[in-house]
Each structure stands twice: as structure tokens, then as C-alpha cells.
């Protein structure tokens, strides 16, 4: 049941906390100058931790607040956890990033922007209202525009941010136009009402399609699904590694959260009885699933194939992240809670492996001053542990046991097989085989080829510790994944759906 505005505030405590710390972090620029330059980082970290505590308090809540604008339900809760973890990790990474050192005077802005982006992501995950969707999306976008161009001394960062902002603004503009059409047709901005409106029928389908496709542009751009992915490689390559990592996880996950919620709440046919347990019907005559399926196939295939050609590892990871978007989309095609839970599980895996990979890339960039795959030659002999970690992450990205990435893929394919999307499953597995090749290219350079110079390069304890924190779950969660699975399965419930 909906809540009054006043009550509602108690449900957005985490967001509020983050907002407060956004300000505080900014303030440190003024007050904490002559104290540790890392003060803003610590402040932001503190903010995330406290917010985290409040988020944990919300476990199990299933509420719709601010008169149906914003849902606080297990689904969004799951994503919030992901965002928090990602945020914390990114902050920790940033502390070691050499690129950011250059702009260390602007740490306050940097970290506050990370917070603001996270806030935006929070709202994206929970918004059940078209306007809300648009606003939160814009919040995330704007923060990321600035972040990607943050080291404005470097030309490529500037270029990245320029492309990003133009492309982003354009896509969101299209999305907005689509929203306006939806509003015009239903007179509603609330997804639930919108659902009922469609259920009553009398919607001009052609217009509806236009609107949906336009909205899809906005969403597709966020999750960088082909053909709305073009900004991704350039921005990922141009932006500072930490930001790239952050975008590749948080903003993408947020985009997915929004996508799933929009389509599920908007188009689920509550009346219809599912054929397979856990599947839900969408309104007859709407073939979103086909669109999504097409997108997913396109996305993973293009992502993988182009990744094969990359020589810059950031760019390679950019394309691989596109491909992964494709994999995740497969889960949504099934239109089943099972598929969604598989997607959620995949996010956990993706968070671990992708951030890990980017972390190693950052470390290598710090010490070896290169992002070129060919310069990874002999890494396995010069910095064994880092190389080992990267190997684990890459195999996890490929989805080979004994890594958690395997479980992620495993459940995606399971969902597909269960709902008889066998052709899609086959495309998926073939893609993962292709992907093996370019991940192996890195591994090959690290181990199979002799280093040019053999001096050992070692990293400090903190680094190794942080890396271990990423490596261990990647393997451990494969050996015992039931908690994650349970969590994912319980998190598919959204407010107002069954």
C-alpha cells in the first residue's frame, strides 16, 4: 500500500544519507585542504558505509513510496547492495590510481560525483514513474559525463566526455520524447496505472511502439546494447580507469534494473496464467521479447567479434562488457523470474570479475605505464600474483569452472533451456567460446611469452589484499554458490507484482 509523503521519507534514508555525504564530501574541499588529501575519499567511504547500514535495515521491505513514484522492494534492494559494493571498491581503487594523482586537488569533486552517481543509480533501480525514471537517469548521466572527463588535462578524457555527453543527451532526449508520447496516450506517468491503461486496451499500438522504441534508445544507451553502444568503447578508453570500471558496473546495472522494472511492471499481464512456473505473460500482441532477444544476440555477438581485434586492454574490456550486456539480456528474454534471478546472479559475478579485471589493469597501468595488451608479455613472471589474479578474472569472464563467472552463465543458460529458448542458448555458448579467444590473448601474453625485461615488479600489501578480496569470492562462490542463488531468487519480487 502506498505511503504518505511524510512516511515516505523514512524509506529513502540511504539516499538521504548519501545526499548528505555528497555535500560533506564537497565541503572537505574547503575545510580539509591542509589535512590529508585523501579526506574526501574517507568521507565518501564513510558515507557509503553508513548508507550501507541503512540499506541493510531495509531488507525485506516491499513498499511503494512518494505516491507511487519510488519502490523500495527486494529487487531494488539487491541492486542497491551492488551499487554500494561497487562504489566502495571504486573509491578504494581510486586511492591508488596514478591518473587521478594528477587531479588530486579535485578529489572532493571526484568522490562527491561518485556519490551522486550512486544516488542516481539507487533511484533508477527503484523508480516506478516515467518522470522519476528520466530524472534519475539524467542524474546518473550527468555525473558520469563529468567523471569521464574528470582528468581534463588529458585530451582523450575530454574527447570521451564530449562524445559521452552528446550521445547521452541525445539518447535521453529521444527517451524523453518517447515518454511524452506514452504520457499522451495514457495520461499516466505511473507504471502501474500505465499497465492498467494498456490492460483496458484502446491504445494505438503503432504509437505505443514508437514510444517504446524511443524509450528503449535511452535504456539501451545506458546498458550499452547494440546498436546504442557506440559511445562505450571510446568513453571507456578515454575515461580514467576507475571511472570506466565504475561506469561498466554501476551505471550499466542501474540501466538494467530500470529496463527490467519498466518492462515487467509496464507490460506484465497479471490476469494471464503462466505456462511454466515462474514465467509471466506480457500483453498479447506485444513482442518486446523478440526485440530484446534480437538486441541481446546482436549485442553479445558484436561485442565479442569486435573485442577480438582490440590491442588496448581497456577497449577490449569495454567490448567484453558490451558482450556481457548481451548475455545478461538473454536472461530477460525468457520473461521468467528464473531468468531475472539468473540476471541478478550474473550481476554479482560481473561485479566481482569485471571490477577485478579493471583493478588489475589499473595496477599494471600504474607500474608498467601501459594499457597495450602486447606490453603484458611476461607479466606472469614479473608480477606473478597480479597476473594470476587477472587470469582468474578473465577465466571468470569467459565462464569456465572453477570460477563464479561459470555459475553466472550456467544459470542464464539454465533459464533459457527451461523456457525452450534453445537457439538463443546455443548462440550464447558459441559466443562464450569466441570470447575465450580474446581473453586468452591476454593470458597468452602474460604466461606463454617471455618478458622483454625480467625485473620483478611487486605490489604493496594493501593492493594484494584488496586483490585477494576480489579473487577469493570469484572461486569460492563457484564452489558454494547457494547463498548468492538464494539471494538472487528472493530478490526478483517487485512491489505490486504477485
Amino acid at each position: 500500500m502506498a505511503q504518505t509523503i511524510y512516511q515516505s521519507f523514512s524509506y529513502i534514508l540511504p539516499e538521504t544519507i548519501l545526499a548528505i555525504f555528497f555535500v560533506l564530501t564537497l565541503l572537505t574541499a574547503i575545510v580539509g585542504k591542509r589535512r590529508s588529501k585523501y579526506l574526501p575519499a574517507y568521507m565518501a567511504l564513510l558515507g557509503f558505509v553508513i548508507a550501507g547500514i541503512f540499506v541493510f535495515n531495509q531488507i525485506g521491505t516491499d513498499e511503494l513510496v512518494f505516491s507511487g513514484m519510488y519502490a523500495v522492494d527486494p529487487f531494488s534492494w539487491f541492486f542497491k547492495i551492488i551499487f554500494l559494493v561497487a562504489g566502495i571498491l571504486i573509491i578504494l581503487f581510486s586511492l591508488q590510481s596514478r591518473e587521478l594523482e594528477a587531479a588530486s586537488t579535485k578529489y572532493a569533486e571526484y568522490f562527491s560525483l561518485i556519490i551522486s552517481l550512486t544516488i542516481g543509480a539507487f533511484f533508477m533501480a527503484g523508480s516506478t514513474n516515467l518522470l522519476m525514471m528520466y530524472l534519475s537517469l539524467e542524474l546518473v548521466s550527468i555525473s558520469s559525463y563529468i567523471l569521464s572527463g574528470f582528468t581534463k588535462e588529458s585530451a582523450r578524457a575530454d574527447e570521451a566526455s564530449l562524445k559521452y555527453v552528446i550521445y547521452g543527451a541525445f539518447s535521453s532526449g529521444l527517451m524523453l520524447y518517447g515518454i511524452s508520447l506514452l504520457y499522451g496516450m495514457t495520461g499516466e506517468t505511473n507504471l502501474y496505472a500505465f499497465n492498467q491503461a494498456i490492460a483496458m486496451g484502446g491504445i494505438q499500438k503503432i504509437t505505443l511502439l514508437i514510444a517504446i522504441v524511443l524509450i528503449l534508445v535511452g535504456l539501451g544507451y545506458k546498458i550499452s546494447a547494440v546498436p546504442f553502444h557506440f559511445w562505450t568503447p571510446d568513453v571507456y578508453e578515454g575515461a580514467p580507469i576507475t571511472v570506466t570500471a565504475f561506469l561498466s558496473v554501476t551505471s550499466k546495472a542501474a540501466g538494467f534494473a530500470m529496463l527490467i522494472r519498466f518492462f515487467k511492471i509496464g507490460f506484465i499481464d497479471v490476469a494471464a496464467q503462466p505456462v511454466v512456473a515462474g514465467m509471466w505473460e506480457i500483453f498479447r500482441g506485444f513482442r518486446w521479447t523478440d526485440i530484446i532477444a534480437a538486441l541481446s544476440v546482436l549485442t553479445m555477438t558484436v561485442g565479442n567479434l569486435v573485442a577480438l581485434w582490440q590491442s588496448n586492454i581497456k577497449r577490449l574490456l569495454a567490448y567484453s562488457s558490451i558482450a556481457h550486456a548481451g548475455y545478461i539480456l538473454m536472461g530477460f528474454v525468457t520473461l521468467s523470474d528464473q531468468g531475472i534471478s539468473a540476471m541478478l546472479m550474473y550481476f554479482v559475478a560481473y561485479l566481482l570479475m569485471n571490477l577485478g579485471a579493471f583493478y588489475v589493469v589499473m595496477l599494471v597501468a600504474n607500474k608498467y605505464h601501459t594499457e597495450n595488451i602486447d606490453d603484458y608479455k611476461g607479466l606472469g613472471y614479473r608480477s606473478p600474483y597480479v597476473a594470476f589474479a587477472l587470469t582468474v578474472f578473465l577465466f571468470s569472464l569467459t565462464g569456465i569452472p572453477p570460477t563464479f563467472g561459470f555459475i553466472g552463465k550456467f544459470y542464464l543458460f539454465a533459464a533459457l533451456i527451461h523456457t525452450n529458448y534453445i537457439w538463443l542458448a546455443i548462440v550464447g555458448v558459441l559466443n562464450s567460446v569466441v570470447s575465450l579467444y580474446y581473453y586468452l590473448k591476454v593470458v597468452k601474453n602474460m604466461y606463454l611469452q617471455q618478458p622483454v625485461e625480467t625485473s620483478r615488479v611487486s605490489f604493496d600489501f594493501g593492493t594484494n589484499l584488496l586483490m585477494t578480496l576480489l579473487v577469493v569470492p570469484n572461486i569460492l562462490l563457484m564452489l558454494y554458490f547457494s547463498p548468492v542463488l538464494a539471494w538472487a531468487q528472493n530478490s526478483v519480487t517487485m512491489f505490486g507484482i504477485r
Binding site: Y134, L135, A155, E159, L162, I166, A169, D234
Partner: protein, 104 residues
């Protein structure tokens, strides 16, 4: 003689604006002009919202949304201008075509 202006007229106008916006974004080389194109797109949407509210639907949601959008548009414009400024300092050009160092 008073000619009656209906919802459709508004929609048509907004559609035209929308198209013009897209055209601008795609064709203009100058980043500022591209920004203008984007503004056009946003405002065509705004026009829709307002029109829909004015005709048929008797609630104010549309107008409210329009307000929000205007604010956001301003914010976006600010960011973009800042970045363009930055670009100009770095590469001294505002031609989006010449900003293509990042590619395969």
C-alpha cells in the same frame, strides 16, 4: 475569424521540432549547434507534455514534467558547454568531427 488550434497541430509542430533537432545533432559540425539540436529535441518533448495536459487530460503532471525537463536541459547545456570549453582549450577546436582520436 478565430482559427481553432487543436492538439494535433501542437503534436505536428513538436514532431517537426523533434526532427529538426535530430537533423541538427547529426549534421552540425559545431558542438554548440549540436547542443542546440539537443535542446530542440528536449523542447519538442516539452511541447508534447504541455499540449497533452492542455488538451484532454485534466491534470497538471505534464506541465510539472516540462518544468523539470527545462531545468535538466539547462544543467545538461551547462555541462556540455563546460566540456566544449575544455575541448577548445585542449585541441582548440569546437568541431565535433575533429574530435575522433578514440576509435578502433
Amino acid at each position: 475569424m478565430n482559427l481553432h488550434v487543436g492538439l494535433t497541430d501542437f503534436l505536428v509542430v513538436s514532431a517537426i521540432l523533434f526532427s529538426l533537432g535530430i537533423y541538427g545533432v547529426v549534421t552540425r559540425k559545431n558542438a554548440i549547434m549540436v547542443l542546440m539540436g539537443i535542446e530542440l529535441i528536449l523542447n519538442s518533448a516539452n511541447l508534447n507534455f504541455v499540449a497533452f495536459t492542455r488538451f484532454g487530460l485534466m491534470n497538471l503532471t505534464g506541465q510539472v514534467i516540462a518544468l523539470f525537463v527545462i531545468i535538466l536541459a539547462a544543467a545538461e547545456a551547462a555541462i556540455l558547454l563546460a566540456i566544449v570549453l575544455n575541448i577548445h582549450q585542449q585541441l582548440d577546436t569546437v568541431n565535433v568531427d575533429e574530435v575522433d582520436k578514440l576509435k578502433n
